[in-house]
Amino acid sequence: MVRIEAIIRREKFEDVKDALQRIGVIAMTVDEVYGCGHQAGHVEHYRGLESHINLLPKIRITTVVHEVDPDTVVDAICEAAFTGAHGDGKIFIMPLLDAIRVRDRVRGVEAV
C-alpha cells in the first residue's frame, strides 16, 4: 500500500485519468497546483509592464494503491502524460502507515 503523487500537465489530465481507469485505478484525489522546474516560463504584460512568470499551472493526482502494482501505475501515467518536452512532470511514491474508510471505519489495505 503506497501513496502515489503525480504532477502532470493540465491538458493531459483527462488522458491520464482514462489510463488509470483502464488499469483499475478508479479512486483518486486531484488538486490544482503550480509548479516550477526546468520548463521555461513566459512573459506577461499589463499596461505595458512586464512580469516574468515561472510558476506554471499543473494538476496533482494523489492515489493510494494496493492491489494494482505501483509500477503499472507509473507506466500508465508516464505513457498518458508524455509529450517529451520539459514540464511533463514528476511522480513521487511515498510510504503509508495506514488507511481508513470513513463510511465503515475499515482499516488497512481493505480500505483503499
Binding site: E44, Y46, S51, P57
Partner: protein, 412 residues
Amino acid sequence: MDQMQKAIEQLTQSGNIMLLVWGAVLVFSMHAGFAFLEAGSVQRKNVVNALTKIVMDWSVSTFVYFIIGFPIAYGITFIKPVSEVMNYDFNFVHFFFLLTFAACIPAIISGGIAERAKFGPQMLAGAILVGLVYPCYESLIWGQWAVDGTGAAIGLQAFLQNNFGAQFHDYAGSVVVHAMGGWIALPAIMILGPRLGRYRHNGQSDPPPIHSIPYLALGSWLLMVGWFGFNVASAGKLSAISGLVAINSLMAMVGGVIAGCVFSKNDAVAIYNGALAGLIAVCSGSDKYHPLAAAVVGAIAAIIFVKAFYFINEKWRLDDVLGVWPLHGLGGAWGGIAAGIFAIPAFGGLGGVSFMSQLIGTTLCVVIALVGSFVVYYVLNKVMGIRLSPTEEMTGSDLVVHSSKAYPEELF
C-alpha cells in the same frame, strides 16, 4: 408664427437626434454584452481574447463602415470638411446608429469561431465583411438601392412590391443583421474545423466546460436591455417611435425565455439564449405583430435554437462554440419568414406583408452570406492561415496573443 415654426422644426430635429443617440448608446452597450457572453462561454484561457476581440472588431468596423460601408449603403460620404457634409448632425448619428448594427456582424462570427481562430485574420475578415458584403445587402433592403431620391422603391424592393404586393419587410434587422451574421459564421466555422479534442478519436463528443455562467448571464442581460434600443430606435425619427415595437420585443423575449426553459429542462444557458433567440426573431415584424403573436414567434425561435444547437454540434460536429448559427442564422431567418406569417390581420397583426417577399428576401440574404463568407475565409485561409497552431491553441489565445491571463493574480 415663423418663430414657432422654427421652434417646432428645431424640436423635431433635436428629438430625432436624441432618439438615435439614445438607441445607438444602448446598442453600443450590447457589444459589451457580446463580449461577456463570449467570455462566459469559452475556457478561462481564452477569456481575455474574447473581451478584446469584440472591442477591436468594433473599432475596425467603425473605420471601414465610415469610409466604405456607409457610403455604399446610403450614398453619403463623410470625407470632406464637416461644414460641407449635408445635414451633418442628423447624418452623423444616423451613421452611428447603423454602425452599431453593422458591427454586430464580426461580433456574431466571433462567438462561433472562438478559441481557435487567429487574431489578425479575424480582424481582417471582419473588415472586409463589414466594409463590402454587409453594406451591399443593406443597400438593397434599406439603402440607396432600395429607394430612390423621391422615396419610391427600386431594385429588388420594387420587384417584390410589384409581384407580391409588398416589399421585403425587415423593421429592425432579423435578416439584414442577424441572419447575415449567423450565416456568414457557418462557412468560417466549417473552414476552421472544431477545437482540438472537441470530438475524441473514440467518437465521444467532449464539449470543454465553459468558464462562467455569471458572465454569460451578464452578457445576456446587456444584450436584452440594449435590444430595446436596437428595435425601438429603428423608427429612425422620433415621430415614428412605436410602442408596439417595444412591447413586441418584450413579448418575443419572454416567449423565448419560457420556451427555452421548458424545452431544455431548466438549462440556464438555454434560457438566456432563448431570450436572445426571441429578440432576434422579432426584429423583422416587430412593428406589425400582435404581442401574443410575437410571443409565439419568439418561442419558436428558442425551440429552433435548442434543437439546432444540438444538431450542428452533435450531429454535424462543426463546433459552433456559442451556437451563433442556430441563434442568429436560423433565428434571424425564421424571423424574416415569420413576419410573412404572423403579422397578418388574421393573427391580430397590422398586416401589409407578403410571405413570398419575406421568403425571397431572406433566402437572398442566406445566399449572399454563404458566398461572401466562403470567398473571404477560403482566401484568407490560403493566403495567411486563419487558425492558431495546435500548441498555441493548447496554451490559449490569452497568453499567445495578449501575453495576459484573465486573472493575473491567480498565479500568486
